[in-house]
């Protein structure tokens, strides 16, 4: 019921458009799970990620379009240019995801390659493939402005110059406020000559059992309303838990708080910095380059520019670090100095990479190619992508929890989204674990198993992945301020009431587990084995420390966690022989 019921398939090579019914939701939940299945069925191991045959599969979750709080997520699956994994990116759907559902589609699959730059318009039954010559070469904001001017209100997914130029760490942006990335998803759009998708739906989304659905939503909203930190979260967003800049400085800069459709605790911003408007996914992201020694204003200017180009900031900083190391070793000649404290230096490198000028052309190919060319292993790189957290930062502790293990086990490479658990914060009291784990639907005896004799990080991560898959398949935002209000029971109840597919909590978790296994196994068939799940060498011995004991992490510790994880997930293929 709350499904739109149709999949839209667009082949850009011959402008073929098909719409068809699908009952995949039945076994694969919806949204993330449903698109994962489409990806595993449609992506062949031998496909070149930047070839026309690589499909880009974009879908919205089972509850997207309803008023269940923060059910806004959009996911995009494809073969990732950075590492060849069958992977995905996800982001707050802002106005895109619900419009896709209102237009009548749960997912859109884009294949082929247009013979000139185009953008796709989806307005209910009307699908257009329009000329994008005049936006090709534009940044993200400019592109969105131009399309909104031309097409009116609606959701937009777009790439900037980095995606056009096939930078292996380019991303797609939703309404210029969310990123769908890592792994070069922007370049997949670029390789198809696809600048943007625009969607506006005049239709609707229904729920099967309104009384049941309304009751569950009401309960969630009441809990959100009475949450003592609601105002603080609304005011500060992620800055509440990661105070990267002082509150008063931030509030002075902020012009407007923005939320994805249906989100009561939005955390996106429009800021004004010396007369210039900046649209951002979050203020925390915006100031991240400050950790490299920049002042916060320059850090914001740099991130804003990278967002305009449509390029992953973490990867950008990581690849420059590697290039600097190579140049210091005398292996690479740079055409200008890399100075992380200088805005001018950083902006010039951003331009070089996004437009593939000079040495930027080489850096734009990402870690995998650079490693091959120079025969030097970059630090803290997993499956061709720079890890978000490393023993040297940006977190102030170096304990090895589920997020750290999640970065090496995630089939698509390191990512923040999939390893969530209380281990995100150092030395959480055991009670906070019990509560969190119960909320994720883990049975009591399993909780005991996970918590007895220290914390079994490998086993716990299995449930973090399952929980993430549930949220993502329903379309619920996984950010901390949202996630905390949901639990597995409410998810099963909302899903059953909305879709009319009756499901118990355990069935929902089992299906989510199957989805994650399927992704892991599809990547196994594409050549990713246990070897690829091993940690970078610099993480061991004098790198990360055991979450519980604080002792230096050894390779054997991680191997044990891997086995524990694979065993719990049912991934015998990856076990030690």
């Amino acid at each position: 019921m709350s499904f739109a019921g149709k999949i839209l398939r667009i082949d850009l090579t011959n402008c073929e458009i098909n719409k068809y019914d699908s009952d995949l939701a039945k076994n694969y939940i919806g949204g993330f799970g449903f698109c994962a299945k489409l990806a595993c069925d449609n992506i062949k191991p031998e496909m070149d990620p930047l070839s026309p045959s690589n499909p880009l599969i974009i879908g919205a979750g089972a509850l997207v379009g309803t008023n269940a709080p923060a059910t806004s997520r959009i996911y995009a699956f494809t073969k990732l240019p950075a590492n060849g994994a069958i992977g995905w990116g996800g982001g707050g759907g802002v106005t895109f995801a619900c419009n896709l559902k209102f237009a009548g589609y749960d997912a859109v699959i884009i294949e082929g390659k247009a013979d000139r730059p185009v953008f796709i318009t989806i307005e209910d039954n009307d699908i257009g493939i329009c000329d994008a010559e005049d936006t090709w070469g534009f940044g993200i904001s400019e592109t969105c402005q131009k399309i909104w001017k031309e097409c009116g209100e609606g959701g937009i997914m777009a790439i900037g110059q980095a995606g056009e130029n096939l930078v292996r760490f380019s991303m797609m942006y939703v309404d210029r406020l969310s990123t769908v990335g890592r792994g070069g998803i922007g370049a997949v759009m670029g390789s198809k000559n696809l600048k943007a998708l625009f969607v506006r739906g005049s239709g609707s989304v229904e729920v099967k059992d309104r009384r049941r659905f309304d009751k569950a939503v009401k309960e969630l909203l009441e809990r959100m309303r009475s949450y003592p930190y609601l105002k603080e979260w609304q005011e500060l967003g992620l800055l509440k838990s990661l105070p990267a800049i002082p509150r008063d400085v931030y509030l002075k800069l902020r012009k407007r708080r923005i939320a994805c459709v249906s989100c009561p605790i939005g955390d996106k911003d429009v800021l004004e910095l010396d007369g210039e408007e900046i649209y951002t996914t979050s203020a925390v992201n915006l100031v991240t380059p400050a950790v490299m020694g920049m002042n916060y204003k320059d850090a914001m200017r740099l991130t804003a520019k990278l967002d305009e180009y449509g390029m992953d900031m973490f990867e950008f900083l990581g690849i420059l670090n590697f290039a600097k190391e190579l140049s210091e070793k005398g292996k690479l000649e740079l055409d200008s100095e890399i100075d992380f404290t200088s805005l001018d230096s950083m902006l010039s490198w951003a331009k070089k990479i996004a437009l593939r000028e000079g040495t930027g052309d080489l850096l734009a190919n990402g870690f995998t190619e650079m490693e091959k060319k120079f025969g030097v292993k970059p630090k803290s790189v997993v499956k061709g992508l720079r890890a978000y957290v490393t023993p040297k930062g940006p977190l102030i502790w170096n304990l090895f929890g589920t997020m750290e293990l999640g970065q090496i086990l995630d089939p698509r490479g390191p990512h923040v989204a999939a390893g969530g658990s209380p281990t995100y914060f150092a030395k959480r009291p055991p009670e906070s674990f019990r509560k969190h784990l119960a909320r994720m639907g883990i049975p009591d005896e399993k909780i005991e198993e996970i918590l007895s004799g220290g914390i079994k990080i490998g086993k716990l991560l299995c449930y973090s992945h399952i929980w993430f898959t549930v949220l993502a398949s329903l379309g619920i935002c996984a950010r901390a301020q949202i996630n905390r209000f949901y639990n597995a029971d409410i998810c099963a109840e909302l899903y059953s009431a909305a879709t009319g597919i009756e499901i118990s909590k355990n069935q929902l978790l089992d299906r989510a587990k199957e989805v994650w296994r399927m992704l892991k196994l599809a990547n196994f068939r594409a050549g990713f084995t246990r070897e690829d799940d091993l940690p970078p060498e610099d993480w061991l011995d004098d790198g990360f420390r055991d979450y519980v004991t604080g002792e230096p992490l050894t390779k054997e510790d991680v191997e044990r966690m891997l086995d524990e994880h694979y065993m719990e997930m049912g991934l015998e293929e990856f076990m030690r022989r």
């Binding site: 008023n67 106005t95 619900c98 209102f102 005049s202 407007r256």
Partner: protein, 66 residues
């Protein structure tokens, strides 16, 4: 009367979702009697000031004044 505070509006559209759902039993933007344009709420002629949208606004952008 509903007073609008556009400076607080986040574009979350919870108001539009609840209005359409209340009067058509379906969630949509098209059937809502409140429209958010550029973060400013406007009401169509059909609006009966029932206040459902005000209840759903978490950001103080809509206020019911007696």
């Amino acid at each position: 009367m509903i007073v609008v505070h556009p400076e607080n509006c986040t574009g979350c559209m919870r108001c539009m979702l609840v209005c359409s759902y209340t009067y058509t039993k379906k969630f949509s933007f098209s059937a809502s009697r409140i429209k958010i344009r550029e973060y400013r709420a406007e009401f169509t002629e059909d609006c009966n000031e029932c206040g459902k949208c005000v209840e759903q606004c978490f950001y103080g952008a809509l206020e019911m004044v007696k």
